[in-house]
Symmetry: C2
Subunit: 457 residues, 2 copies
């Protein structure tokens, strides 16, 4: 993918050199000559990846990186620290600040381009998710980006695929202080294990006995259920070509042997945070969509959901000539509860009532708040006697024990009236069936409440 | 990105040859020896791209492609038709069936890998969007995938960046029969024009006088506002290297000169459909999230939205010592309207009432249905006299003309009572302000309705 690369360096010749190289590779280049300018450009969302010099007057590169990674609006941006420093301690400082990689000058052009391309591609895949999360934020509620950026990257579930005892010991010991590590020496078993293990990051040796570790990486990246796993390759210095290959097809990062423990911990932490960032966004989006069909007070589905789904269920019952029932439940004298004990107690009763009903339904049933103190249950696959039996059981369960309100200090006895109807072959739409359930409910109320009435089948 | 490639061919040696090549490039290979098997694999979601042979007994490749492209569950899968046929008419049949590309045997390995990689990368970017859309579908409502797959790919807004008169004429004439075409001869102006033109596809000549067309493509692909544009390169046969480069960084497709009109039309149609597919999914997701904060009856925001946003607005007013008012509006004797004219007429009044209020608010105001026939307006930046003036204007507007219901056959006169309150420095939370507005509303009702009452500032 083409992308906008931000070069941050206070020395013009350095900027110029990088700019020329990147431009030749068809990247768009944006330049900042100091830290604050770089932060401003990133906050504006005007770049896709950051190449960051360390030694700058005022705010140094480590500080710029730390700030980018702790800001919800910029935490997703890949950062590569580019510097003349070449001490392990400096690499570590950069990685600890949250950098995705660290390149030392003079820069190896192939390494630079491979890395930038790989980071840009991985970013492109999650950009869509981030755009949707930004839209959610605009609608209010919990800010998914802030939540996602706050993760520490500790306590992850890690899969290590490695068959050398010394490496297992070394890597396992270092990572176990921060994460749960599962070791698998057999790549075939690893492929079976990975989808169900709940892993967040997999480290894969490229030097497995009799098996190409890169192949395992590509398979993990291809399979539906492991596609979102963060992958780190473990390779020898002489395997640059294979490592480039892996980065090209979507492996997230790599470590060269002998593996530095601190660098290992830092790189794994970065991948854990990246993976959790996207998972948090996914979860927030899903929750936001579910909210549209959820009733805030009871947590049941709302009427919108019922209206959407009942047609499908109705059509299905019609097509396969199967039974379909609906139960309309209405708390008896609910207004009296509100008037006597107050609206808050009324809401508590409604919530507890909904929860007690919820325990009575199967996953294929629809349970929705119909309005006020009315709840509707749609039950596929049952006939009228079965539906009546279900309704009677629900009625008994409600009557069986009073509802505790006001933090358990008060018990309110509650009963429910239920109208039952089943689909008839002459019904043109679910509204016909619902209408009969409503009429039956009216009869149950008139006949003294706390009872089940059914419309003829 | 690594990915699962489905090879569809009835001849085992052909399968074996392709499988070996793809496997060496770290693709996962899935095989189908006939059309129905291929369709089943695609429907299960078990592949990312399809390499499809044409000549198969039973169902031929064209038919398989047509079926994949018309099924909402498989329409997003890129299809490359691979065949020994080499007549323009055959290429056209494949492209007309919706194929993304057409490769002739013997296959040029570089061309194959470039194409597959490019299609897989483009797909990876929209896969996330599709996963979210599948989740929306599970929650009911309009199926965004079915909607997206139904588009014909006609009537698009196309940008043609080309400076040769003969090519402009040829391409413009062919495309104008199906789309609106805007021609731009200057690539610099094209870059300025593209973000605001509402274009769906841009065709860019790689042979512009004194400018690298590939650079324009990379810029269009990088910039935020043109990132989702479909791009097609127009190049000479001898420019394969540059074309490969373009496909590598995210250009969607290309055409070689002399440009075949029919192929041009077919390839543009495929890109239009692809782009609209993702745009439809984006729109559906956005709509689904907005639904969570929208009141179904009035189309105003709902209480959930108010609860989420009022804290932010309140905190902002506190921080910047700015005014903040809230107006609580309640239709007078609404129960009487319902009882007299029926619930449907009542709903009509409520909708029309909401619409009339909506016309009175500024974009920064919050307008939400508070429950029943109550609407709340939160107005930042005003003091009490200003808020009272706003309330008085709203009251007059409601009284000024009756509300038409029952398809305009009946006019119902409606009045509104309004309680006004502004934030006090002693308020701990928005609830304090809302409470005063509620008390003021109560006074307005008691004092005879159709009036504005305000709490002291």
């Amino acid at each position: 993918m083409s992308a906008r690369v931000l070069i941050v360096d206070d020395l013009y010749p350095n900027v110029r050199l990088l700019e020329t190289k990147l431009s030749l590779e068809y990247f768009d280049v944006v330049v900042a000559m100091n830290g604050p300018d770089a932060l401003a450009i990133c906050e504006r969302g005007a770049c896709d990846v950051v190449l960051l010099d360390v030694m700058m007057p005022g705010m140094d590169g480590f500080e710029v990186c730390r700030r980018l990674k702790s800001n919800p609006d910029t935490a997703h941006l890949p950062v590569v620290i580019v510097t003349a420093l070449d001490q392990p301690a400096d690499r570590l400082r950069g990685l600890d600040a949250g950098a995705d990689d660290f390149l030392t000058k003079p820069i190896d052009d192939t390494a630079l381009m491979t890395r930038v391309r790989s980071l840009v591609r991985l970013k492109a895949v999650t950009d869509e998710l981030r755009s949707r999360a930004l839209a959610t934020r605009a609608l209010g509620g919990i800010d998914p980006l802030a939540l996602a950026a706050a993760d520490t990257g500790e306590g992850a579930n890690i899969l290590l695929v490695e068959d050398r005892a010394s490496a297992i010991d070394r890597i396992g010991t270092a990572l176990s202080q921060h994460h749960r590590v599962t070791v698998e020496t057999d790549p075939h078993r690893a492929l079976v294990l990975a989808p169900d293990g709940g892993f967040e990051v997999a480290l894969v040796s490229l030097d497995l006995e009799g098996f190409d570790g890169l192949r395992l990486c590509s398979q993990l990246r291809s399979l539906d259920r492991t596609r979102n796993l963060s992958l780190i390759m473990l390779g020898e210095m002489g395997e640059k070509t294979r490592i480039t290959r892996g980065l090209d097809f979507g492996v997230n990062d790599y470590l060269l042997r002998p593996i530095d423990r601190n660098e290992l911990v830092a790189r794994v932490r970065t991948q854990v945070r990246r993976r959790r960032f996207t998972e948090t966004l996914r979860g927030a989006l899903q929750a936001s969509m579910e909210l549209a069909v959820t009733d805030d007070l009871t947590g049941l589905h709302n009427r919108r959901y019922l209206d959407r789904q009942i047609g499908t269920v109705f059509g299905d019952a019609m097509l396969h000539q199967k039974g379909l029932a609906c139960l309309l439940l209405d708390i008896d004298r609910f207004k009296l509860i509100n008037d006597t004990w107050g609206h808050e107690a009324g809401d508590e009763v409604l919530r507890a009532f909904a929860e007690r009903i919820r325990q009575q339904v199967r996953p294929m049933d629809i349970l929705a708040r119909y309005g006020g103190e009315e709840i509707v249950m749609v039950v596929p696959g049952v006939d009228l006697p079965e539906a009546q039996a279900i309704a009677e059981r629900v009625r008994e369960r409600v009557e069986a024990a009073p509802f505790a309100v006001q933090r358990g200090t008060r018990d309110i006895p509650v009963t429910v009236s239920i109208g039952v109807a089943v689909r008839r072959s002459t019904d043109a739409s679910p509204a016909d069936m619902l209408g009969r359930a409503d009429a039956a409910l009216y009869r149950a109320k008139s006949a003294g409440r706390n009872r089940v009435e059914a419309a003829a089948a």
